[in-house]
Amino acid sequence: MTAETSLAKRSAPGMGRRRRLTIAGFGFSLPWIIGFLVFMAGPIVVSLYYSFTEFNLFQPPQWVGLKNYVSLFSDDRFLHSMFNTAYLAIIGVPLGLALALLVALALNFPVRGQPLYRAIVYLPAIVPVVTATYLWRWVFNAQYGYLNQLLSHVGLPQPDWLEEPFWTKPAVIIIMLWGIGGTTVIYLAALQQVPQQLLEAAAVDGANTWQRFWNVTWPTLTPVTLFQLILGIIGALQIFAPTYLLTQSRLSPANGGPGDSLLTYAMYLFQNAFIFLKMGQAAAMAWILFVVIGGLTALILWSSRRWVHYGAE
């Protein structure tokens, strides 16, 4: 602390330094600011405008006020898509984070062949999502799929994964878990920042593995966990590709899977925008989602004060 105050005294008087900092900060952020103004600001405002109109992309939009927003809440496909998406997010995100952390810890074991193990875990992220989904269709096949064959060996019941409305979302969650390579990699990088001396000191003091983890490793990981949690929620609430690829076909482009069980929010949005050409409804859906995500993120950030430790020394 004394270093800081002496620093403040030694450098230019408060105001000048403040201004220099603001200019510097602004300068560092300049690339993003320009990008935002050019690529995002316009489209965002326009899309907000669209949400209050009926717009089919080709003819001039017609103002309808709040009609889009109101009619969505009496559309049972809309409500169903909200349920589906919430299901996937509430179950998939925490599970994915926990699993990623466990796997990252395992991948941190000092063993030979570590790079290979790490590559294998990250591999799913590199497979194009189109191919991966088709592969999973085979794995989930009710009669001959490898998953059900495994289950039958162990004596567990083998559901019709992709045919029964009840089981389709769990199947998607399994696919989501398969893709945690990215999250694991981030945790791996974060684990490198865990202060080794503290761990050793704790071990010397007689702390067991769990205590060492909880008191030394976990606090270091909390900023990254916060990041992953927020992004995980944002991503899960917009999930599109796996469910889309499991259900779409040329003949029924507006498919939602058995009993519409795979119709996620983003899929229904996409259908409204590009298949039914109801851009206005799609825009309204987007803004509703934005508010929901914003609220959830604010909630998570507010709660983060309780459990996140930043490591600035």
Partner: protein, 300 residues
């Protein structure tokens, strides 16, 4: 020079970071543990490898073998014809060149812009940084489909439709995801580094470039890998903005295996394998960087 002494302090500091050197302790005590570690890792990897097993074995099967019902994992006869077919089915080298071009530019753009923005948000105590950060966060919450059409029309007006520009330029202006990630990492870097650098008379930019950025090697490597994979596998953006075959990328090329009544599985899987290998190689190389933390040798 004052700056090099700062760097010396940093490198001393960095020794305390987690390293992943394989310990050479008394063999017997650690052998059981090592075997246990291996077993756990192997089990985990098996779970991840299942779809790959399907992909790899399918790439070597004849068409009749692929559709054998009940499906068997291993091919009856191992054939290499699918790989030949895969490379022949599309202008492979052309697509590869296009993909490499896009990947290099996107990774470069990301590595230049994202750490810069992230640093300003993480380390510089300036007014307005919360506003900027909040806005960045907010842009991640808006589904892409909604800004997609106005953005497309914009590029269309400028006449960039059908060129590579819409696929390259945005990367140089930062991506919210990576900015967020790097910000978190920068916040974990001690403030004292920056203070010391400033005392020594360096400008903010110099401090960033010379002192703090090298500290974030793990995060930078992570971002690089992610962007590489994202561009390498992206098919939606190229499909929308490119409209001539000579500009297509490899991931679009995969589509040529999807006919309207069925899929040419063997060649598709072979193509996917070829497609995946460079990404795997890059990953295995790059992961060394964030594994070894800050190797002292890297700084001098």
């Amino acid at each position: 020079m004052a700056l090099s002494s700062t760097i010396q302090k940093v490198s001393q500091h960095s020794d305390s970071r987690g390293t992943d050197v394989v310990r050479k302790g008394p063999r017997r005590r650690y052998l059981g543990r090592r075997i246990g570690h291996h077993i756990i890792l192997i089990l985990i990897c098996l779970a991840f490898l299942v779809p790959f097993a399907v992909m790899i074995t399918t790439a070597f099967k004849t068409p009749q073998d692929v559709f054998r019902v009940p499906p068997r994992l291993l091919p009856e006869h191992w054939v290499l014809s699918n790989f030949v077919e895969a490379v022949r089915a599309m202008p492979f080298l052309r697509y590869l060149a296009n993909t490499v071009l896009l990947v290099v530019l996107n990774v470069a753009g990301t590595m230049i812009s994202c750490p810069l923005v992230a640093y300003g948000l993480a380390k510089l105590p300036w007014r307005g940084r919360n506003v900027i950060f909040g806005t960045i966060l907010a842009t991640m919450m808006l589904p892409a489909q909604v800004t997609f059409i106005p953005l497309y029309l914009m590029w269309n007006k400028v006449g960039a439709e059908g060129t590579f520009w819409p696929l390259i330029v945005p990367a140089f202006f930062g991506t919210p995801f990576y900015i967020f990630l790097l910000r978190q990492f920068f916040m974990g870097v001690p403030d004292s580094l920056r203070e010391a650098g400033l005392i020594d008379g360096a400008s903010e930019l110099r401090v960033y470039w010379r002192i703090v950025l090298p500290q974030a090697k793990p995060a930078l490597a992570t971002v690089g890998i992610f962007q590489f994979v994202a561009t390498w596998t992206d098919f939606l953006l190229p499909l929308i903005y490119l409209n001539s075959q000579d500009k297509y990328t490899l991931s679009i090329g995969l589509y040529s295996f999807f006919g309207s009544h069925g899929v040419a599985w063997g060649p598709l899987m072979a193509a996917c394998l070829i497609f995946t290998i460079p990404a795997v190689v890059i990953f295995m190389i790059a992961q060394r960087y964030f594994v070894q933390g800050i190797a002292v040798t890297g700084l001098k």
